[in-house]
Symmetry: C2
Subunit: 315 residues, 2 copies
């Protein structure tokens, strides 16, 4: 085979691809140019992981890349039936975001327990008002999603003394199956959504489930916006069915200025940044080059997504 | 001895003293009445630990209590030379605040690393602005104060993967002596003040020491306000000698509305609440009753303060 064509779907060029010089012919494309270039690509790097252009362009005419890598943990934005049915391998950025997201969730849990948003408000008003805050040690968390991100969240929360249960697609050692979810949510102080977006998880956090939570409990989503029925969450927080929530991901991103989610008291909104710590782009670039090295050498790839399930299957 | 007189200096009556009925004659007093009642008291419970009335009243005429207990970790507010020179035993609330304060410090560290105050500001403005945040794992903390509170902070930060050094009054296994402080502060990402207020620690965090810190580093004080030269900290944060700070304690409390500390960008102000989690008053009441049980039975008391040093000596 001649030098493979590496097509990169990007807004900003990825860092760290320098070592591929001479080993790949690198073509950059934006969303509009993707369909025309797909047939010439051996490898597709989905660097702009907010784009859904792959899903739209894939079903078109002509040959398709042998391998697609996305610089994200989730693959929901690129999967389509034609890609799932094809021989193309899909890999993801498994591993890069685990610890950063776990720290971010710990930050949200502690911030809410210690009432820091209110402290910052009172500071702005110049008002000294002592309040009692909450211990986190001894509280209960239910982490939904048993992949590397969910497991990293669980370890970090456990290190803070939080009694943590993990819920996955099927029950196995140390992980609860879906049948336990309602029971665990009903007694949790913290419910954390860290599942991949699939047909099964779409809209799983709905009015029924929020209604089941304790009034003192809080909900955090760092997975995908579509896991949550947003109107149901707005109602649950506004009506104090639950004590608060924090969303880092949304059905529509960027969250439109007119969205009511910006202005629900007790709801923290952040701009899909939970895993993005300084150096994250370098990490993602480095990870892709490592995979490319293996692919070029004909070795097996790690992080291969089960395209039917929509995630990398665990042990 | 007839039923001992227990004098309680309080603003709100302490909970959990019910079990002392018949075993102590309980007198309540406010600050103004303290001097007149001190001579009749066998035991003094300083429940209002914000008061400096003991320090003022103690040098007066007449007999003095055999035992003084303060519902606080610090004893700086009640110590005076006459009390220090007396035979009166002083005990403190050692243990009650350790874990709550450790969680609070973790909340501040994570909040600052993840830029949550800015996230909340942007949410108020309805602005979606992605930023990169910081990992805490692998950063370095220097915790100044090697008592139970400092040690609890160090364990919690270590559990988050933060490389943590403890600095105490003298070097011993696992604890650095004061000679290492400047060097440790100069390379720390987080400097946490958790020392008792004594003649040696008064004003120890001054312009020289803030000038020594890294521009990316942050300072947290959950000990006593007087550990810090407040004007020097305002200058250090305002001029970006350091990246930020969080103060839970102040030279004057409540912090006066006109204090410039309320309005320094990058400085978080909270109202002396780091250790005060739900149930803390019950904990403090229960702890005093346990000590009273021992005192009444003539057994040795734990938590006895070295009155010359101003804290309970460690191992």
């Amino acid at each position: 085979m001649s030098v493979p064509v590496l097509l990169v779907l990007d807004a900003d060029p990825p860092p760290r691809l320098g070592s591929l010089t001479g080993r790949a012919r690198i073509l950059h494309t934006d969303e509009a140019g993707l369909a025309a270039r797909l047939p010439v690509a051996d490898v597709l790097l989905v660097w702009d992981f907010t784009s859904t252009a792959v899903r739209d362009a894939w079903p078109g005419e002509g040959p398709r890349p042998l391998w697609v890598h996305t610089a994200s943990a989730g693959v929901d934005h690129l999967m389509c039936p034609e890609l799932a049915a094809s021989d193309t391998r899909v890999t993801n950025a498994r591993g890069v975001f685990d610890q950063p997201i776990a720290e971010y969730v710990a930050a949200l849990v502690l911030t809410m327990a210690k009432d820091l948003p209110r402290t910052l408000e009172l500071q702005r008003e110049g008002v000294w008002r002592h309040r009692e805050s909450q211990r986190v040690a001894g509280t209960r968390a239910c982490v939904v999603g048993s992949g590397p991100i969910g497991r990293a969240i669980a370890s970090t929360l456990k290190a803070l003394g939080i009694v943590t249960a993990l819920v996955g697609r099927r029950s196995r050692t140390g992980i609860h199956g879906p049948d336990d979810l309602d029971r665990l949510m009903a007694r949790a102080d913290w419910v954390i959504a860290a599942a991949p977006l699939t047909a099964e998880t779409h809209g799983m956090f709905d009015a029924r489930r929020f209604g089941m939570m304790q009034p003192s409990a809080r909900f955090i989503n760092i997975g995908r916006g579509q896991l949550v029925v947003e109107e149901a969450l707005v109602e649950a927080v506004s009506k104090r069915w639950i004590a608060g929530a924090a969303l880092d991901v949304f059905d529509t991103e960027p969250l439109p200025p007119e969205s009511p989610l910006w202005r629900v008291p007790g709801l923290i909104v952040s701009p899909h940044m939970s895993g993005d710590t300084i150096g994250w782009r370098d990490e993602l670039g480095k990870q892709f080059v490592e995979l490319y090295d293996r692919w070029e050498a004909g070795r097996s790839l790690p992080n291969v997504v089960d395209k039917k399930r929509g995630y990398v299957p665990g042990h």
